[in-house]
């Protein structure tokens, strides 16, 4: 039944309406820091508004996310950071009454991933997601990782085994589980479960990986391992991470975006933003005066 990936994903050269080139430094605003803006942006969000029914949760967001970087989304609860993250793989499509306005272009293809002609299922094969609470399937460790591969149309069992091992290695979990792949994922500790979820998301080799407060349910040691992992993974893909923990944002991210009441207040290189916030609101948030 309709295996995702059975229709070709629009290629770079397929003529499409409204395809704009990746923004380069020439189009970057005066506001962004001078140091050469990366020409290969992975995601460009333009004039994005989002509505839960009548309630507007995001207001005219504009943001570029460069390839092979970690972008942290921070802000107080209800500011829209998770809403934006869930726009990036269209999780909002699962619930009725939600509405997107604007566009999110993914490069190098240049397609608008929230356009109505884009199949959300195919898109999600290219954008992985790791959730707040570890949510492994009640299946074996192996089957958890293999599930996405099978969805992506992989059939050969040797290939699946290879990819499962590779993903578990990338998630720094292989050594701990290699002898018990057939055991239930629920036998793992919370931190291990979360790394299993990362392996599961990595297996189909997505170009973008989204993290929704991935360490909020974990102890400090497990948190440190996940953070290390995030740092290593950015060599291979583009990472967007929502975190309520400003220190975490400072530790793992290259750029940070601060949201407040559904608006993007400030976005900048992380070190720059933490040392010299340009907006009054940002500096008050970063110094813990609200939020």
């Amino acid at each position: 039944m309709n295996e995702p990936g059975s229709t070709p994903w629009p290629k770079e050269n397929v003529p499409r309406e409204n395809v704009s080139p990746p923004p380069s430094s020439s189009t970057a605003s005066a506001g962004s820091i001078g140091a050469g803006v990366d020409a290969n942006c992975k995601l460009v969000v333009r004039d994005l508004s989002f509505f839960y029914g009548p309630k507007q949760a995001l207001k005219q967001i504009n943001l570029s996310i460069p390839q092979n970087t970690v972008t942290a989304l921070i802000g107080p609860s209800g500011c829209g950071k998770t809403t934006l993250l869930r726009c990036l793989n269209r999780m909002h499509d699962l619930y009725p009454g939600n509405r997107y306005v604007g566009e999110i272009r993914m490069y190098p293809e240049g397609i608008n991933i929230i356009g109505r002609d884009v199949d959300p299922m195919e898109m999600r094969l290219r954008v992985g997601m790791v959730f707040q609470k570890p949510n492994p399937f009640p299946k074996s460790i192996f089957e958890n990782v293999a599930f996405g591969l099978r969805l992506a149309g992989l059939r050969s069992s040797t290939q699946i085994e290879e990819r499962v091992e590779k993903s578990l290695r990338s998630a720094a979990l292989w050594d701990e589980v290699k002898d018990r792949l057939k055991e239930s994922a629920y036998a793992l500790s919370g931190g291990q479960q979360q790394r299993l979820c990362i392996a599961r998301a990595l297996a189909p080799e997505p170009g973008v990986l989204l993290f929704d407060e991935p360490t909020s349910a974990l102890d400090p040691a497990s948190t440190a391992r996940i953070e290390d992992l995030v740092y290593e993974l950015k060599d291979r893909l583009t990472i967007v991470i929502v975190t309520h923990n400003m220190q975490q944002a400072a530790r793992v991210s290259d750029q940070t975006c601060f949201f407040y009441h559904g608006e993007l207040i400030e976005a900048n290189a992380t070190s720059e933003m933490f040392e010299h916030p340009r907006q009054e609101l940002t500096s008050r948030y970063l110094t813990g005066q609200f939020g």
């Binding site: 699962l94 997601m129 609470k133 949510n135 492994p136 399937f137 969805l151």
Partner: protein
């Protein structure tokens, strides 16, 4: 106004009394049931361990009567019922829980199922009589009996399917969607497998209800003297299966028991008691399986 210590003593005494009363009320039902069951066994134990009782057809002579045809009838009936009710009920439950938009039509379907669960079983018998036997001119067969009982237990299967699905955390669904699964893939690979235990529990309970049900079968006229078995479902020649048994007339355990109860002679009353013991053993063992299954599921799954 009473002093505080007196008040506390009084409050505590009230609590103790009510705890005793509550336990007594809980036990009164169970003890009454045990007494009645003991009576049933006392009256019916003579033939309970007689192999001929299980190998003989009902007969006008009590000493030679047995429960072969009702026993086989009940088992085949349960088989047809489950085969019809489970796919339909699970599909309906999945639709209502996972697909249905929140609108007036869905609400109507929900009210309708809640109502159907409370419709007296004999009304289902009238439905089958009017629609299947008068309307479609079907015989009073295992198929008609199975359809009747399947419609009767359909609401139970739907409701338990929905409850089992509702117990699956939303995070599991989101995780599967985030990997690019379509809705049906999520349902087929995750939701249905994870809810199978709950669905099985509900189905077993529903089956025990169907086994003990007699009123709708009486209405379609199944109260007849059946001294033959349906043709066997398996043949030695190709195509090896045979569906003629579906069109066969049948009787069932509760109907046979009713038949024996309504005879004035004491020997038949004893036969009724024996049939009652067998029937209770069937339904209670199904319920016991369901209880154990539910208990083990609750212990094993911790989302």
């Amino acid at each position: 106004m009473a002093s505080i210590p007196e008040l506390i003593v009084r409050l505590k005494r009230q609590d103790r009394w009510f705890a005793v009363l509550g336990l007594a009320c809980t036990l009164v039902g169970l003890v009454t049931l045990l007494i009645l069951l003991a009576g049933l066994i006392r009256d019916g134990h003579h033939r309970l361990f007689d192999p001929a009782f299980y190998a003989s057809f009902p007969s006008a002579r009590a000493a030679r009567a047995g429960i072969l045809s009702p026993l086989v009838g009940s088992i085949l009936l349960a088989f047809v019922t489950i085969l019809l009710a489970v796919p339909l009920g699970v599909a309906a439950g999945v639709y209502l829980e996972e697909y249905a938009p929140r609108n007036i039509w869905t609400t109507l379907i929900e009210i309708n199922i809640a109502n159907l669960a409370g419709v007296p079983s004999i009304i289902f018998g009238l439905l089958a009589l009017g629609a299947l036997i008068y309307g479609l001119h079907l015989d009073r067969s295992l198929l008609v009996g199975g359809i009747t009982l399947a419609l009767l237990i359909l609401p139970i299967v739907i409701v338990t399917t929905r409850e089992a699905l509702r117990a699956i955390p939303q995070g599991i669904r989101e995780a599967a969607y985030a990997l690019g699964a379509t809705k049906w893939q999520v349902v087929r690979h995750h939701l249905i497998p994870y809810s199978l235990g709950g669905i099985a529990t509900g189905t077993i309970i529903a089956m025990s209800r169907a086994l003990g049900e007699s009123a709708p079968l009486m209405t379609i006229g199944a109260l007849t003297f059946i001294t033959f078995l349906p043709p066997p479902p398996i043949r030695s020649q190709p195509p090896f299966v045979n569906f003629q048994w579906l069109n066969s007339e049948f009787t069932a355990m509760p109907i046979q028991m009713f038949n024996w109860i309504s005879r004035p002679q004491a020997e038949f009353s004893a036969l009724a008691a024996t049939a009652g013991v067998v029937l209770i053993l069937m339904t209670l063992s199904l319920n016991a399986v369901a209880i154990i299954l539910r208990y083990r599921l609750r212990k094993r799954i911790k989302w």
